[in-house]
């Protein structure tokens, strides 16, 4: 389980980073999206993985060990929301840049393909 | 998997069969997506999953949880309802887009627009 998830995080991160280093704004935004998937999984995994654990408390008292670790989840939720917001902003900025410069190169000047 | 032990054998077998049937239909549907030769044919394939495939899986789920919780649980029915309402929208819009593309490209396989269309 851990190995698979670690590999998954690695592949998402690698694809994202590769895109991040590309010259087109669209590539960068897709890259950022992939990286944020990787980061979300990373944060999530940090508390250790649980399959079949209860995500929600059954009753007031009980064995703590049977529940999934809630804190990383809460952190990921915050991260997802913030990531969504900033991705949206980045998108609008790249559109505006495209409008003003006439191309979709990250530097606003269409030198390289 | 402690909780599934609570299922009586008949329910376990019923759930197993339903689960497999559902998965099989979804599998065949997606296989069609891969196998069929053109878009208009492919578009039919996933319907297997959205109709009977989902139906079997929902049935499995309803059986399983109703038996487990000792009361009828129809929560999952909503999934079926929602899916029935939403799938047509997507497919209709999508096929129409494909038809437009083919007409633009002058493909012989699609009926051209009637005179006024």
């Amino acid at each position: 389980m851990e190995l698979v998830l670690a590999a998954a995080i690695g592949i998402l991160a690698a694809s994202g980073v590769w895109l991040l280093l590309r010259p087109r704004t669209f590539q960068v935004i897709i890259g950022l999206t992939l990286i944020s998937y990787a980061v979300n999984l990373f944060i999530f995994s940090i508390g250790g993985l649980r399959t079949g654990a209860d995500p929600v408390l059954r009753d007031a008292a009980g064995d703590i060990a049977q529940y999934a670790d809630p804190l990383p989840q809460a952190l990921v939720l915050t991260a997802i929301v913030i990531g969504f917001a900033t991705t949206a902003l980045f998108l609008v900025v790249l559109l505006t840049s495209r409008g003003l410069t006439g191309n979709d190169h990250v530097d606003g000047e269409d030198g390289t393909p | 998997m402690s909780h599934l032990d609570a299922l009586p054998p008949w329910a376990a077998i019923l759930v197993a069969v339903l689960v497999l049937l559902g998965a099989l239909l979804a599998f065949v549907g997606s296989l069609g997506l891969l196998r069929l030769k053109n878009f208009y044919k492919r578009v039919h394939a996933p319907t297997l999953g959205t109709t009977l495939g989902t139906f079997f899986m929902l049935a499995a789920s309803i059986t399983c949880f109703s038996v487990l919780h000792d009361r009828p649980i129809f929560y999952e029915i909503l999934i079926g309802v929602f899916l029935t309402l939403t799938t047509p929208i997507t497919l209709m819009l999508l096929v129409r887009a494909a038809l437009y593309r083919d007409r633009e490209e002058g493909s012989a396989d699609v009926p051209q627009a009637p005179p006024h269309e």
Binding site: - | P9, L33, G53, L78
Partner: protein, 93 residues
Amino acid sequence: MSHSLLDAAILLAQILLLLAMSFSIIRMVRGPRAQDRVLALDALYVNAMILLLTIGIRSGSLLYVEAGLIIALLGFAGTVALSKFLMRGQVIE
């Protein structure tokens, strides 16, 4: 016995569903047309939803059905947008 059968059935079902998803993804990658990709994404969503149901059954928790419900009710919004984009060149007119 019947329970290990159920476990095996669920695992088999999951693998079948994952294979189904992989067919969708192959279609997504292969195209050839944008319509094919969108269709494949839609199928992927449905397969994923069914997969969630199997996970729910395996873990015995109804909570996972919730995620399935969200896919069923709202998952299509993305595909609608994609289709409309293909047809009209823009999503909201």
